[in-house]
């Protein structure tokens, strides 16, 4: 992993091989974190802020990768640009500053707002809670399909199903089950009900 070029790392990150993916993620972490920590700590942030922003940045990067991102620069540069953008936004939101002391790090212009790839609404948290309770294979298949955006043949391989069609059928029955469960729970009241009312 250590000497892998960025293009290959990106492909591994996108792919379904869990072990390689984790290794690639760890490699990206090692290559990039310190630069981001330096950027944040020299712009009125703490190490905890740096960790927070870096993890958000990595998740946004991962989501973008799954959405077919093509890189025209090093992963490090791209991730740095994401984190810089996220940190700048946070500084502005808290009214602390509207500019950053840059330290000659390479920056690339982003096509998207990196925050768009992150889920921040509380209602989503309530749905996530329900998915936690669902557990088992259904939970896995739903996450593989929606979060990792794996295709049916990849899910079939991961779950050891005979054909991609089995994965497709499983996915649709699991989603149906999960959705019914969430809507049922929402009817019972509480904050989930409020969420459903405001969203649907």
């Amino acid at each position: 992993m250590v000497n892998k070029p960025d293009g290959e790392l990106l492909e591994i990150l996108r792919g379904p091989d869990q072990i390689s993916r984790d290794k690639a993620l760890s490699e990206v972490y090692r290559r990039t974190y310190s630069t981001i920590e330096r950027m944040i700590t020299s712009n009125s942030g703490s190490v905890a802020d740096a960790e927070d922003i870096f993890h958000d940045g990595l998740i946004s990067f991962y989501k973008q990768a799954q959405n077919g991102l093509t890189l025209t620069c090093a992963i490090k540069t791209y991730l740095f640009s994401i984190c810089r953008n996220l940190w700048l936004k946070r500084l502005r939101k808290s009214g602390r500053s509207d500019r950053l002391e840059d330290q000659h790090n390479e920056i690339v212009e982003l096509d998207n707002d990196p925050e768009e790839f992150l889920i921040i609404d509380e209602c989503a948290g309530l749905v996530a809670e329900n998915l936690k309770n669902l557990g088992g294979d259904c939970q896995k298949i739903i996450v593989y399909s929606y979060f990792d955006q794996f295709k049916a043949d990849e899910i079939a391989k991961l779950m050891d199903y005979a054909t991609p069609q089995v994965a497709r059928n499983k996915k649709s029955s699991c989603l149906k089950r999960f959705r019914e469960q969430v809507l049922e729970k929402g009817k019972a009241g509480g904050s989930l009900r409020q969420c459903l009312e405001s969203y649907l």
Binding site: L58, C123, A128, I142, F147, D148
Partner: protein
Amino acid sequence: MAVEFNQEIIDQYLSKQLKGETLDAFNKKMSQDEVFKKEIETQAFIHRGVNKFGEDEMRAKLKKIRAEVLQDKSSEQKKESAAKVVSLGQKKKTRPILRWSMAAAIALAIGASVYIVATNQTMSSQDLYANYYQPYAEDISVRNATAEDIANQASQFYKNKNYESALPLFLKILETEPDNAEVQIATGICQLELGRFEKANQTFSAVVNPLFKEQAQWYLGMNFLKRSDMENAKTILEGIKEGDFKYEKAQEILNKL
């Protein structure tokens, strides 16, 4: 006219991958077909929740990776570790304990090859030097971003014990940051390792940063020890006060002198 969208297209819409004409047609149907709209909104609601779940899982994974990275870093530091120095802003008392056995191993190679001379005193000062000296190994940080490349390169040479190549680079950084204490100490060590005792003496003596002065004192003492200047070594080591960097080691050496 009923346009139908299969689940695959809906999934693409949910993950914002739908583009062009298909997206236009999709939006059009959303605006015209209430039932379809409601269905898509429900799916989007679930979709966001699943993504939140995925994010939370990924955050947990990243925390684990972070712990591993930090652990690897600290064991690397221990492995290479020579005198670990307090970094700016850190409390003095949090200094890690040093690895003396390794120090001796590294330094024996340096010390023993040169100065094996006849007199007892020289032998013993060299033995002491060999047993107590180890190069300072810390990543060097610079304030000036343009110096960063030079600093990285210099650190690399330094870590590989290529003091000959590291020295001119450190000196170059000192031209723009003459009071950068970390670089001063690294420079002094290069000079010490290369046998340029007078230069090393000047470099260590020039450190004024209070956070690094103690380290500089210790290395100054080592410098005198290595060239068998017992008088000065003694004076310097005696100047290391209780609670200072390597006070105990300085006392041990003084007892053996």
